[in-house]
């Protein structure tokens, strides 16, 4: 079907990218993998073989257990929050209201700003002080008489990490909204009309017809948001600094490598992060590619 010349040309066009990715992604991963199996501790490289020692160490490491637990809590709330908020906003915006374009752009803009820029603001907003030093959102709640909302934010014992999801949701929920809105627009009006003619309530229509049709979007949003949440780092550092109650693997990796010179351990955390991303992504890739093949 295709000429051999074109095939070769195709290969030539993608080969620079492939080479670059081979070096910058797989080459570097291989390097990390090798370091994770070494005893490297100290400034200069030491590739002495250590087997799985670094990994075994992590699984008995109480700090790493906190990290895993925090990551799970954060991921569930962040991904869940973005999906629920994104879907709700998308459905509201899909009602053909005036000013839709304005709201749409407004919801999307947090994505444009990094936490280098907004981290401090969030630290102020989530200031846990109460009583005479009350400030931030707590102050607003106090003045609006919403005292039950006043809380200790990320300094809440045990569940502080849950509050860290708020700025993350702030940043990514608009993007999720846009994905869903695109999905909603792709659903032909005739389907909804048919449901209405059958006497289905609005709510039932969304539950029975629209939501199932949106599930591929939910899946891709989960993958994109999920991998962001596994890598979360600068947000936490900007809002709450480095502290054990809010520790996550990416922060542990950074501090143990650059503050503690435990390069072997740092690399093994990196590899474990990658593996968990792979567990998330590979089945998804297979699923989407297979679906496409069937089309």
């Amino acid at each position: 079907m295709q000429s051999r010349k074109d095939q070769l040309l195709g290969l030539a066009l993608v080969s620079p990218s492939i080479l670059a990715v081979l070096i910058f992604v797989y080459g570097f991963i291989a390097w990390s993998g090798r370091v994770s199996l070494s005893q490297w501790k100290g400034l200069m490289p030491d590739y002495t073989w250590a087997g799985l020692q670094n990994y075994i160490g992590l699984f008995t490491d109480p700090r790493f257990r906190i990290d895993i637990r925090n990551t799970v809590v954060f991921t569930v709330l962040f991904v869940g929050g973005c999906l629920v908020l994104g879907l709700t906003l998308a459905i509201l915006l899909d009602q053909g209201l005036r000013g839709e374009g304005f709201f749409r752009s407004l919801y999307l803009f947090p994505m444009a700003i990094s936490f280098i820029v907004t981290g401090v603001v969030w630290r102020w907003l989530m200031n846990p002080a109460q009583g005479s030093r009350i400030s931030g959102l707590n102050l607003i709640f106090d003045q609006l008489g919403l005292d039950f909302l006043i809380n200790k934010w990320h300094t809440t014992p045990e569940w502080g990490i849950a509050f860290i999801a708020i700025p993350a949701i702030w940043q990514m929920s608009g993007y999720t909204m846009a994905l869903y809105l695109g999905g909603l627009r792709a659903i032909p009006e005739s389907l909804r009309e048919a449901a209405r003619v059958d006497g289905a309530s609005e709510f039932a229509m969304y539950r029975r017809i629209i939501l199932p049709l949106l599930s591929p979007i939910t899946l891709s949003a989960m993958i994109i948001l999920g991998h962001i949440s596994l890598k979360v780092f600068d947000l936490i550092v900007a809002v709450a600094g480095k502290q054990i109650p809010l520790d996550v693997p990416a922060i542990y990796m950074w501090t143990t490598t650059f503050d503690g010179n435990f390069y072997g351990r740092g690399a093994s955390i990196g590899i474990l992060l990658l593996l968990s991303v792979a567990v998330l992504v590979i089945p998804y890739l297979r699923y989407t590619l297979k679906n496409e093949a069937e089309l």
């Binding site: 080479l19 300094t155 010179n261």
Partner: protein, 445 residues
């Protein structure tokens, strides 16, 4: 590594070809043009740059703001006057008490791209990381040529040396074991400045009884470690404290357990929102009268003055209770890397950093005392003069948090153990973790 170079050139060539393809369709001519334009002058500049290079010195630090940056600027000014033909490149990177800076420095050193000099805390932080990796040149010759051995305290030299070699030029001295207090709050409650841990506990009990929920202000995790090192010193005394760090005393002993008990008790007087506060926020609680005490290094004094408080009326100070007669110190210092790209210029910089003029330019602005004992006393305020006196006649011990007594790996293990302790308050586990840390990364066997 050569084959990688080759691969990359191949990639670059292909990228250019691919973009060139874009040109044919008359779309996106932009990316190619700037790339070529940039590439050409860059090559032309290369030889010119090489000539210039002899006349510059790149100094790496984490002093980007406040009194630190101003102090560095003041010292650079002295440098520029003395060496007008050497260009000073200030490669300061901010963030997380130098954490970003350290990461950048580590990646640069591993890639063989050392700056001409960099800032580091004198002591094990430099020795355990950079000397151990063979990155630093001894600077004994500078001390001898400039007569610094006569003007730097004898107690300091061993702490910045390894096997008789001195590895850094200390610019300043800070004191870690300072208890800041609010004189008004103390007077109102009839409390004298405590001198022992027990007096301190009694005072804080009285303040709590009087309705002050958290008499001791504390900030984020590293300030807890700062508090921890002073309580360790207060509980053990200078000799045992030092022995913990050189392997002479085991971390499993009951005295350490007692110290941890004291630490846990001290923590019970602290504010519940500590983890959300910076050290400045915590220090401010004291001068604002929200708390009575704060344990922080003496850079806090510069902060109090900057926000408009006067010594003695706005804030008072004393050694942390139980550490009278001890000066727990830290020092910022500059180093001479092996293979510094501009070694002569780096030596010029170090000469300024160790000189009386350089230190007297830097320290009054930074809010620290000079490492030299011959600083011009007229330049320093009341607190700093008292620190200069203590520095000359107290027993000098090193700080943990600020890099003097433990190498980076050890310190980071202690930091993790401490962070876990702040969460679960389990002193026994903490002590076990401290003992393990000493075995795995310290001198304990």
């Amino acid at each position: 590594m050569r084959y990688k170079t080759f691969l990359l050139f191949l990639i670059l060539a292909l990228v250019l070809v691919a973009c060139g393809g874009g040109n044919n369709a008359a779309t996106n001519t932009e990316p190619v043009a700037p790339a070529e334009e940039e590439a050409a002058p860059a090559q032309e500049e290369a030889p010119a740059e090489a000539e210039e290079m002899a006349n510059q010195v790149e100094v790496f630090s984490w002093w980007t703001g406040g009194g630190e940056a101003a102090g560095l600027e003041a010292m650079i000014k002295v440098f520029n006057e003395k060496y007008p033909d050497i260009e000073f490149i200030n490669a300061a990177v901010a963030g997380g008490a130098g954490t970003n800076a350290r990461a950048v420095l580590a990646t640069r050193l591993q890639a063989g791209d050392a700056p001409d000099s960099w800032q580091g805390h004198a002591g094990q932080e430099l020795i355990g990381t950079y000397v151990a990796a063979g990155q630093l040149e001894p600077v004994n010759f500078l001390f001898e040529e400039n007569g610094w051995l006569d003007v730097m305290p004898e107690t300091l030299i061993p702490l910045i040396s390894q096997d008789g070699n001195i590895y850094s030029v200390p610019v300043n001295i800070h004191r870690a074991n300072v208890l800041w207090n609010n004189p008004t709050v103390l007077a109102e409650n009839g409390i004298d400045v405590p001198t022992t841990l027990d007096e301190w506990f009694t005072a804080m009990d009285a303040l709590q009884a009087a309705g002050m929920e958290a008499p001791l202000a504390m900030g984020e995790q590293w300030t807890a470690m700062h508090l921890f090192e002073t309580i360790l010193l207060a509980s053990l005394g200078a000799d045992d404290y030092n022995a913990l760090w050189d392997g002479g005393k085991s971390w499993s002993e009951p005295e350490v357990a007692a110290a941890l008990e004291n630490f846990a008790k001290v923590l019970s007087y602290t504010n519940s929102d500590a983890s959300a506060l910076s050290w400045q926020d915590a220090a401010q609680l004291v001068v604002n009268g929200d708390a009575a005490f704060n344990v922080m290094g003496d850079w806090a004094e510069g902060y109090f003055r900057e926000i408009g408080f006067e010594p003695n009326s706005g804030y008072g100070w004393s050694p942390v209770p139980g550490t009278n007669g001890n000066f727990q110190f830290l020092s910022d210092s500059f180093v001479l890397p092996v293979g510094a790209p501009h070694r002569e210029a780096a030596i010029a910089w170090l000469t300024v950093a160790g000189s009386r003029e350089g230190q007297d330019a830097f320290n009054p602005v930074k809010g620290s005392i000079p490492a030299r004992s011959d600083g011009d006393r007229a330049l320093y305020g009341e607190y700093l003069l008292s620190a200069m006196d203590d520095w000359s006649n107290n027993t000098v011990v090193g700080s943990l948090t600020h890099g003097v007594v433990a190498n980076d790996s050890w310190k980071s293990e202690i930091d993790t153990a401490l962070g876990l302790f702040l969460v679960d308050k389990d002193a026994a586990t903490f002590q076990t973790a401290l003992a393990t840390a000493c075995t795995s990364s310290g001198p304990c066997q």
